[in-house]
C-alpha cells in the first residue's frame, strides 16, 4: 500500500507523441475526428495544426499514475478540463511532460494533482485523480 504525503511526487514522465500515436489512439478509441490526423482539415477549422485527442492526453496522464500505483482498483474519481491543445508536428511530433503530485489527503482518500505540459504550456486544467486509501 502506498502512503501519501502532500507535496510528494507520485510519478513523472516524458512522452513523445507522433502522428502515429494519434492514429493508433484513433483506432483504439474509435475517435476518428480528422482534426487529429489531417493537416488540411485542421487548418480549415482554424487550428494551429493537427492536435492530439484531449482524451489521449487525459489517458496518458492516468497511465503515468497507474504505473506508479500498480493497480487501478483504488481510483474513485478522475477529471480534467481541456484548456490548451497539444499540436503534433508531422516530422517532430510533440513532447508532453506529466508530473503527478499528492495535492491533498484526508482520512479516506488522497487527491493526486496532474500537471501536464506541452513545452511551457499547461494543457489540462484542474486535472485530479482521487484514490481511496
Amino acid at each position: 500500500m502506498m502512503s501519501f504525503t502532500v507535496g510528494d511526487v507520485v510519478a513523472e514522465r516524458d512522452i513523445h507523441l507522433t502522428r502515429e500515436s494519434l492514429v493508433r489512439y484513433a483506432g483504439a478509441s474509435g475517435d476518428f475526428n480528422p482534426i487529429h490526423y489531417r493537416d488540411d482539415v485542421a487548418e480549415s477549422v482554424g487550428l494551429p495544426g493537427v492536435l492530439a485527442h484531449g482524451m489521449l492526453t487525459m489517458g496518458i496522464a492516468s497511465s503515468v499514475v497507474v504505473a506508479a500505483l500498480g493497480d487501478t482498483g483504488t481510483i474513485t474519481e478522475y477529471g480534467v478540463r481541456f484548456t490548451k491543445p497539444v499540436v503534433v508536428d508531422p516530422a517532430d511530433g510533440a513532447h508532453v511532460h506529466v508530473l503527478a503530485t499528492v495535492g491533498a489527503v484526508d482520512e479516506t482518500s488522497a487527491r493526486i494533482d496532474l500537471k501536464v505540459t506541452f513545452g511551457e504550456t499547461t494543457v489540462l486544467g484542474k486535472a485530479q485523480l482521487r484514490v481511496a486509501i
Partner: protein, 148 residues
C-alpha cells in the same frame, strides 16, 4: 440552429451491450502508453484479484461515446460535431472495467448553459455491467460554438 435547451433532463435508452475484449484492452492500453502489467498480462491482473486484464481508467469513454452518439444524432438538437469541443471530462468509478465485462451506458443531459451564441452541454453516462451493477459514471462537458 442554436442548441435546443429543452434537451435538459432528457434521458436516452441504454446502449446495446458492449463486450470488453482482452485484445481491445491491450490495444487501448498501448495507445495511451499504459504500461502497468495489469492492462496486458492476464497473470498480473489475476494476481491482483481480477478475472482478466484491466482497462485503463479512460477506457470508459468508449462506452460513453456510444451514448453521446445518441445525443448528437437527435433530430433538432442543434449540436453540430464540427462546432463541438470537448471542454471537460470526469469519471466516477465503482470498480475498474475488466475484459469480459458486458457494459451498457445510459445518458442523461444534466445541464445546458448558453453564453452568447455558445452552449455548454453537461451530460452523464451511467455505465453498468450485465448484472445492472454500477461500474462508472462518465460526465462530459461539450462546448458547442455559435453557428454561422
Amino acid at each position: 440552429m442554436p442548441v435546443n435547451t429543452e434537451l435538459v433532463g432528457r434521458e436516452f435508452p441504454p446502449t446495446a451491450p458492449y463486450l470488453v475484449g482482452r485484445e481491445k484492452v491491450r490495444e487501448f492500453a498501448r495507445a495511451v502508453f499504459a504500461d502497468a502489467p495489469l492492462h496486458t498480462d492476464v497473470d498480473a491482473a489475476r494476481a491482483l484479484g481480477y478475472a482478466d486484464v484491466v482497462a485503463p481508467p479512460t477506457f470508459a469513454m468508449v462506452i460513453q461515446d456510444q451514448t453521446l452518439q445518441q445525443l448528437l444524432s437527435e433530430p433538432g438538437s442543434g449540436i453540430e460535431l464540427a462546432r463541438t469541443i470537448h471542454a471537460e471530462q470526469r469519471f466516477a468509478y465503482t470498480r475498474p472495467i475488466v475484459a469480459g465485462d458486458e457494459l451498457s451506458g445510459r445518458l442523461k443531459v444534466t445541464g445546458i448553459r448558453t453564453v452568447g451564441g455558445n452552449a455548454m452541454i453537461t451530460s452523464e453516462a451511467e455505465i453498468t455491467d450485465a448484472e445492472g451493477a454500477h461500474v462508472v459514471t462518465a460526465t462530459s462537458v461539450l462546448l458547442v460554438g455559435a453557428g454561422e
